[in-house]
């Protein structure tokens, strides 16, 4: 762990002040106009150069839509209704089709949960990766083919020359994800967005893929936005963690602080769930109920219906009537909860 952390810290301190990706006050709604329901409301997220940021939350919390907004790849039913997205100083929301083509693939690479579904079953795997090299980089067929073999070697695919000529059915889930990573890296992007990259994989392969992502980010000084519902998986990889609930960030901060001293009751429950902690009665700690989406919301804190603190504490009135702001609790560690008080004297560790 110590090696990983020290490298991570060096990366952060060397980064310039201007973030690579800045999402400000993003609002996204889904549905026909007039009856569109909000799914993301007031989302803020910054990713600095060569930083690994994990975006964590339950399904439906809006983490994938946030990532898709950054590349303007939202499904047709969804629409950005407000907010600003800047990538390397440029306004993404004002970009035309040409500029977007340059952004997607070239500057922002993406990988997803189901690697097999991303590959055309009727084309050789190497040709599919080469296609993006020829499109984005203008390489010749031969040069692209040679580059694919190099990339396959870099992402740890054994016998890369032979594997490049195979069809997707011959690839296991883990190997297919390596192909997707190779394809995403082919254009040398500044930012890689990985949406649940290991959820469909076995635990043994999960660890391998996470290590590969970490290595590649370090070597290429590439930023990574890692989206996952499992805090345990992002723990060792991320510099910073943002926790999303019902369409906005409810806690963010350095990964170590979030995992060892989570402040928001939701994050605390997530940490305990992901470690399968037991309560005093010997039962696994579980969150009651299921996540609400932003559209079901009335007033007050979004987490209040499931929150143990809101149910008992003196804050009850605030929790039900108005939503807390994302307040600083220590250094860059922020939480959106009425029960969280800033603690400047808290020990650094």
């Amino acid at each position: 762990m110590s090696v990983v952390v020290s490298l991570a810290e060096r990366r952060v301190t060397a980064a310039p002040a201007e973030p690579l990706l800045a999402i400000e006050d993003l609002h996204v709604a889904i549905g026909p106009s007039g009856r569109a329901a909000p799914v993301i409301e007031g989302m803020n997220l910054e990713i600095r150069r060569s930083e690994i940021v994990a975006l964590v939350g339950e399904s439906g919390s809006g983490k994938s839509l946030t990532a898709l907004s950054a590349t303007r790849l939202l499904p047709r039913a969804a629409e950005i209704t407000r907010g600003r997205i800047r990538f390397d100083g440029e306004d993404v929301l004002a970009m035309g089709p040409r500029a977007l083509d340059g952004l997607r693939g070239n500057r922002i690479g993406m990988i997803f949960q189901q690697p097999q579904a991303m590959l055309d079953p009727t084309c050789r795997v190497g040709d599919q990766v080469a296609e993006s090299l020829r499109l984005h980089r203008g390489l010749s067929r031969e040069a692209a083919g040679a580059r694919v073999v190099e990339l396959f070697r870099e992402v740890g695919i054994p016998a890369p020359e032979a594997r490049a000529r195979d069809f997707p059915y011959a690839f296991s889930g883990g190997m297919a994800q390596r192909v997707m990573i190779a394809a995403a890296l082919s254009a040398d992007p500044d930012l890689l967005i990985a949406d649940e990259p290991t959820t469909a994989l076995d635990v043994t392969v999960q660890a391998q893929i996470l290590r590969l992502l970490h290595e590649q980010c370090r070597q290429r000084r590439m930023s990574l936005l890692l989206i996952s519902h499992d805090l345990g998986i992002v723990a060792a990889l991320a510099d910073r963690v943002a926790v999303m609930y019902a369409g906005r960030v409810i806690e963010e901060g350095p990964a170590r602080a979030i995992l060892s001293a989570p402040r928001h009751p939701y994050t605390r429950a997530l940490v305990e769930c992901s470690l399968l902690k037991r309560d005093a009665g010997g039962r696994l700690v579980a969150l009651p109920g299921s996540a609400i989406s932003a559209r079901e919301l009335s007033h007050g804190c979004r987490f209040q219906p499931r929150c143990a603190i809101a149910a008992q504490s003196a804050h009850n009135h605030d929790c039900c009537s108005s939503e807390p702001a994302l307040a600083c609790c220590h250094g860059s560690h922020k939480a959106r909860c009425w029960a969280v008080k800033p603690e400047p004297e808290e020990a650094q560790q």
């Binding site: 339950e58 345990g232 399968l276 969150l287």
Partner: protein, 322 residues
């Protein structure tokens, strides 16, 4: 009956299942999905079966509930040999043994109200009249912690965790004695995983269930199981009481799995080091010990001779070095 221990509710010996290999290049060849696997589960026991995808653990589940027939081997459930069952006897087995799948969205008909789905097994077995079936279904919904409004809901109106509760309710509605859960929580978020696991623990106690828990996630089986069997390429490579397996794993594959599941301290630099590559194809299983190609301790002997395994031992491991 006389051959098995008096307490074994399920006793499977030497199960073998092969499937025809997919694709025209490998036409005529067969994949050994399950290769001489023996398992027993005592009444009221929870047995965990873990392994990577493709190791044959789901095939074991299919054999035990008679969704598929074993090529050879004996499977006894509650004293009855299930391989040759047909007609009414097979119907009777279905009431005793039920299965919970991984994906709740795929396990429920999207156009059927949840109540109808719940009553389908009762209907199939001719239990009760319409009113009684509805009463049983509503009762079962309560047992799994859902209110009556779910009876009239469609699957798309529910979350994955809620649907998995319905799937569990449907599996339990016939009051089975053995419940086989094939990755019951891997399609769920971490927050819902604990809910569903708690539910399974409660129901097991209340209904006196015998459980087979299949998972690729050691963290999950550790919380739930009395004994754990580790499977690799169609074979069981280690079998031990849960606490013993985690305290003293004997097979290098088990050790690697434990390291990779990042149990207590999520630390990537330790995980993944132990295990390289992915399982070889079951179409061409390696000679000797099937794990030798990925094993950090393999020596020449491992490539030549196939280690033995004694499932009757309290803690058994299929490795030359135990």
């Amino acid at each position: 009956m006389s051959l098995q221990p008096a307490t074994a509710f399920l006793d499977a010996r030497d199960m073998v299942k092969t499937y025809p290999a997919p694709g025209w290049l490998t036409r005529g060849r067969r994949v050994n999905s399950v290769d001489h696997v023996s398992l027993s589960i005592a009444k009221g026991e929870v047995l965990g079966l873990v392994g990577e995808s493709g190791c044959g653990k789901s095939t074991v589940a299919r054999l035990l509930v008679r969704m598929d027939r074993a090529d050879s081997g004996l499977i006894r459930i509650g004293g009855t040999e299930i391989g040759g069952l047909a007609g009414a006897d097979l119907q009777a087995l279905r009431r005793k043994v039920q299965l919970v799948f991984q994906d709740p969205f795929g396990a429920l008909d999207p156009r059927m109200r949840l109540g109808e789905s719940l009553e389908a097994p009762l209907h199939a077995h001719g239990i009760g009249d319409r009113g009684q079936r509805q009463a049983i279904a509503l009762d079962m919904l309560r047992e799994v912690g859902l209110d009556q409004s779910f009876y009239d809901r469609l699957p798309r109106e529910c979350s994955g965790g809620q649907l998995q509760r319905v799937v569990i309710a449907r599996a339990l509605i016939l009051k089975p004695e053995l419940l086989v859960c094939d990755e019951p929580t891997s399609a769920l978020d971490a927050s819902l995983r604990s809910q569903v696991l708690n539910l399974l623990i409660d129901l097991k106690r209340r209904f006196g269930l015998t459980l087979l828990m299949i998972s690729h996630d050691l963290r999950v089986v550790r919380e739930l199981c009395d004994r754990i069997a580790v499977m690799y390429l169609g074979e069981i490579v280690e079998l031990a009481p849960a606490a013993e397996l985690f305290a003293n794993p004997r097979h290098p594959y088990t050790r690697a799995l434990i390291a990779a599941s990042m149990l207590d301290n999520p630390d990537l630099s330790a995980a993944g080091v132990a295990l390289r590559g992915e399982p070889p194809s079951p179409l061409n299983p390696p000679s000797g010990c099937r794990f030798h190609g990925r094993c950090p301790q393999a020596v020449a002997l491992c490539a030549q001779s196939h280690p033995a395994f004694d499932p009757a031992a309290g803690h058994a491991a299929r490795c030359h070095f135990t």
